[in-house]
Every structure is written in C-alpha cells, then in structure tokens.
Subunit: 311 residues, 2 copies
C-alpha cells in the first residue's frame, strides 16, 4: 500500500509480510507495461519556489483550540462575504469559547456550536440569521483555475485561491465544493436560517450533493485529525447522545488577534500557478515504480492542496 | 446541516443557532424553486421488502475484534479469488490474532499486519506471495448493475453484489473501486508481492487513483468507526512512530467459525434490484424541504450501500 502525496518511492506494506516474497520474473496482471518514474506530488512540493506559495491571511484565519491542539481554518470571503463577516464577529465576541463539537457522523461531518438548547448563548454584534450564500456571481471569484477533468456535479471545477470550487457559466454562479476538510454553515430547512454560529467540517468522502445547498465558508488547513478522529456520535445523524460526550472547544480566535509569535506559520501552494498544475498532474499521471496504472484523471476532491510550514 | 441517508426531514443544525431566525418571506438564493418532497434513502430502506436484502455469507465474512468492538468485513471472492482464499487460510491459522493496526493516515487509510520486523510471524498453510488480482475478467462478475452516471476513473461503474465496482469493456476487465471502507492488500513495488497478510481499509475520500493498482478484497460493512477514529500516526505515511502506539487486533475469525449465536446478524441491500435503484435515485435526486438543489447525479462512492440488522 502506497500513500498519496508522499513520494513515489515510499513503500507501506505491513513490513513483515514481504519476507520471502518477490517471485522475480513472474508476469503480473498489472505490471505488463511499467510506468515511467515521474515526480510525485511530494517531489513537486520539494522542487517548488517560495513564490509558488502564499501565507495565510491572519484576518481570514481562525484558530479553533481543542484540548489536543489547534485546528486552523482558512476562510473564503469571496464565496460567502456576509457569513465570513458574521463568523468573524462571532469569534471576536468570543461566542465560540467554551462551546462544543456536538456531532460526529462517520464518513460525513463533525459539527460544532452551542449545545445548550435551554439557554442558548446570546449574540452581541453578530447577526442571528443571514441570507443564504450557497453560490456567488462568478465574477466574485477572480482566481479560478479550471481543471480539465470532467466532473459529475458541476459544469466546471477547479481551484480558487486554495479552495476547491465549481461554477456554471450558464447561470453565471460559482461555489465552493464539499471536499474533505471544507467548512460550512449549519442551517434549518429555511435556506436563510444559518448565521455561522453552527459550523461543520467534512470528515469523510466528499458529500458533493450538498454543493449549492449550504453556505460554505472555508477549509481546515491544519489540525484535521483533531476533528476527524473524534468519537462518532450514536444518536441520529451522529449527534452525541449525552451532553457529557460533547467535545469542548476551548476557544476560537482570529489569527490576527493572536500575538504574531503564537501564530501558525503556514503557507498554501498558490493554485493559480505552474507549480500547482505540476502537483495536480503528478496526482493525475502517477509514475512507477509502485504505481502500475496511471488514472489519467483527477477528481476534484482528490487533487491535493499542499500546505506547509513557512520557510 | 442535514445528513445523507437519514431521511429528508432531519434537521441537524447546532440547535441553539436557530433561535429567532427564520426571516419569513425573504427570497433565498437557493430556494427560488422549492424541490418537491421525495423519499429519502432512509425512506426507501424503510419501505423495502425482505427480498430486497441478502444476508452475509459466513464463509466470506471476517470478524476483526478490536478492544472497542467488532469490525465486520465482507470478502469479495469474485474479484480476488486467490487473495480471498489466502486471507481465509491466514485467518484460520490464526495469523492475525495479536497483530496490530500499524498505520492511520488522515483522509486515506488504516493498515494492519505484523508489526514485528525482526521476528515476523511465519505462515503455515497460507502462501507468502500471490500474483496480483488488480482486475478480473468481466465475466467473473455476474451481478454488475451499472450506474448511468459518468465516472472519471473508469468507462463504467456500478455495483456488484454490494461492492462498488468498475469495468472497461475494451479490455474486458472489471475491478473493485476504492470507496470509503473498501479493504485492499498491502504490497511492495512488485505487483505480485502481496498475500493478504497486510491489509488496509479506506478511511477518507475515495483514493480512486489506487484502482487497478492494488488487489481489493472486500468492504467493511460494520464497525468502521473502530478504524476511522484511530489516532493518526505521525511517521511518514501515517505509520505509528512508536511500537506502543500500534493498536492491537485481538483476533480475526471467519464468521463461519463463530457459533451462530455470536454472529453479527447483518444483511446488505441487494444492489441488483429495484429497491436499490430507488435508494440510489433518492441520493441522486434529493427532495425538499431541506434540500434546495438536487444534483441529478451520484458519484460512485457517494451511492449508499445500505446494511442493517437482519429482521
């Protein structure tokens, strides 16, 4: 078993299983035509230049502090300007501090917010409801780089400044795609019933059927395991069935409000440059020796979006 | 936030966030044309008949016992006859008992096998290496039901007796698809270097680029959270960097070798019948009131494969 995004020389079989193996000279169903060795995504990352990366904007970066560490969320104001503004207002009035993850549904999402139905936390400056921002005018998204690969859920897909996105030239609308790690706004049946006080992150296979049904506001760029490994809830929809199972959120802060020395020094590969195209192509046409068959295709949510410590 | 496969009436917003919301009469970007209410996947499951389901075959079902409970894996001999036979031999010689999960890579896989490189466990009747079974002749797969939906990774996709599968009429080959919960065989660079002693399960977004590169042997049909919530390993590829972090496997048994009273009484919806087509269609064309936009498409790994307790 070989792992994506980790270099094409890496081997990952449970070590002992290989002793005495390697029946040399046997023809293999998959190895008739060895693939040429090619740069992997990791190789492309390694060969990239400083200009292929951009830092996170502290004014659009959230730090959600869990007992086990920091979850870093990059917000996408171009795709949900009003919700992002409201989430920033909520953060700055310390709305989230002491709230909890209340739901963890396997192969789907974790969701967090106020678990106290009887005495919900009041809003100060933040708004209690916002009009839906399921989609935005395509012109709002000025940095879309289209993938040539076909997508079943949208006429066009690609990346917008580090976020997986989609668009429909017929309607002139663009939206963020529900890939792993994307963060969206919980709502009731009414499309305009969300405000960002209840958020979720995708922890399973991309539920793209949610695209255009929810306001998506950003992406977890670091700390996903702090969310993805949370115990699954056993009540309907993966909600925790007892309040004591809720997972505390110690605080949520804007990176800009944290002393610079305490900030996460992360940078995201620019998705509108040649290095990123090379990274996606490395995923699309994987080379040998481990790979025996190259897909020649990359599905939107399988396109890596490299994040690293600032150099 | 609404959850897939759980009924279209279910609401899942973080409860308190809704107080004072619901600005009636406002036009919504997403709600201009309300979707008709339709049966959800859960509704289809509820309305199904006994004949729409099949029990698990105890001779092709593994029970992997973890400290937290039982992982149930259904094997797919039609797609990997030699590997499935070898895994059954390994299980029956108690090869896996006391081994461990040695790897958990976020948004990718968990992998298990023998962690002891110095003194690897010996095989008794099981073979040490097998020829790759990355694909099989299409004629081996007699129960393929094709999805009409386009797929980027394969000319045709669908389901084969409860497993997501793909095929290429030009080459005449069929294979299992790397969706969430699918189980495959770790190997080294040599295509013929696996034998089933090291296995992995997909715990993240479907890594379909692995299709046709690995022998896939089955699917986790129950107990996924016991694997998907395991702490992520911090060494390369998500391996645990200290032996004490490995997660013990207490035992792996064939269901057929477990007293009937102790077996998991599970059944899988038949994927070649009308009920299943209705379930997939419920996912493809989701109805109101929560949904505002129906995708009109289902991606292979987003098509639910219902499993339930036998009635």
């Amino acid at each position: 078993m070989h792992a994506a995004n980790q270099g094409n020389k890496a081997i990952a079989i449970g070590v002992a299983a290989l002793i005495g193996v390697l029946a040399a000279g046997q023809a293999s169903a998959g190895a008739d035509k060895p693939l040429p060795v090619k740069p992997s995504v990791a190789d492309v990352v390694k060969a990239s230049r400083a200009s292929d990366w951009r830092p996170l904007d502290p004014e659009n970066t959230l730090y959600m502090q869990m007992a086990g560490g920091r979850v870093v969320i990059e917000l996408a104001p171009a795709f949900a300007p009003n919700h992002v503004a409201n989430i920033k207002a909520l953060v700055r009035e310390q709305y989230f501090d002491g709230l909890a993850v209340v739901r963890s549904q396997d192969n789907y999402v974790v969701q967090w917010g106020d678990p106290d139905e009887a005495k919900p936390r009041a809003y100060k400056t933040a708004k209690a409801a916002l009009k839906a921002e399921f989609t935005v005018p395509m012109k709002n998204d000025t940095v879309f780089t289209r993938l040539p690969d076909h997508d079943g859920y949208a006429p066009q897909v690609g990346h917008s400044n580090g976020f997986p996105s989609a668009r429909d030239p017929n309607s002139g609308r663009a939206w963020l795609a529900h890939c792993y790690g994307m963060v969206g706004v919980g709502r009731d049946n009414d499309a305009d019933s969300g405000n960002g006080a209840s958020l979720y992150a995708v922890t399973g296979h991309a539920p793209r059927h949610l695209d255009r049904n929810i306001t998506v506001v950003g992406r977890v760029v670091a700390g996903m395991p702090l969310l993805s490994t949370l115990p699954r809830g056993t009540a309907a929809l993966g909600f925790y069935d007892k309040p004591e199972l809720n997972v505390p959120i110690l605080s949520v802060k804007m990176a800009a409000d944290v002393p610079e020395a305490e900030r996460s020094k992360l940078e995201v590969m620019r998705t509108d440059g040649a290095a990123y195209q090379a990274a996606v192509d490395a995923q699309r046409h994987r080379g040998g020796p481990w790979n025996k068959y190259a897909a020649g295709y990359v599905e939107l949510c399988n396109a890596p979006i490299p994040v690293r410590e600032q150099k």
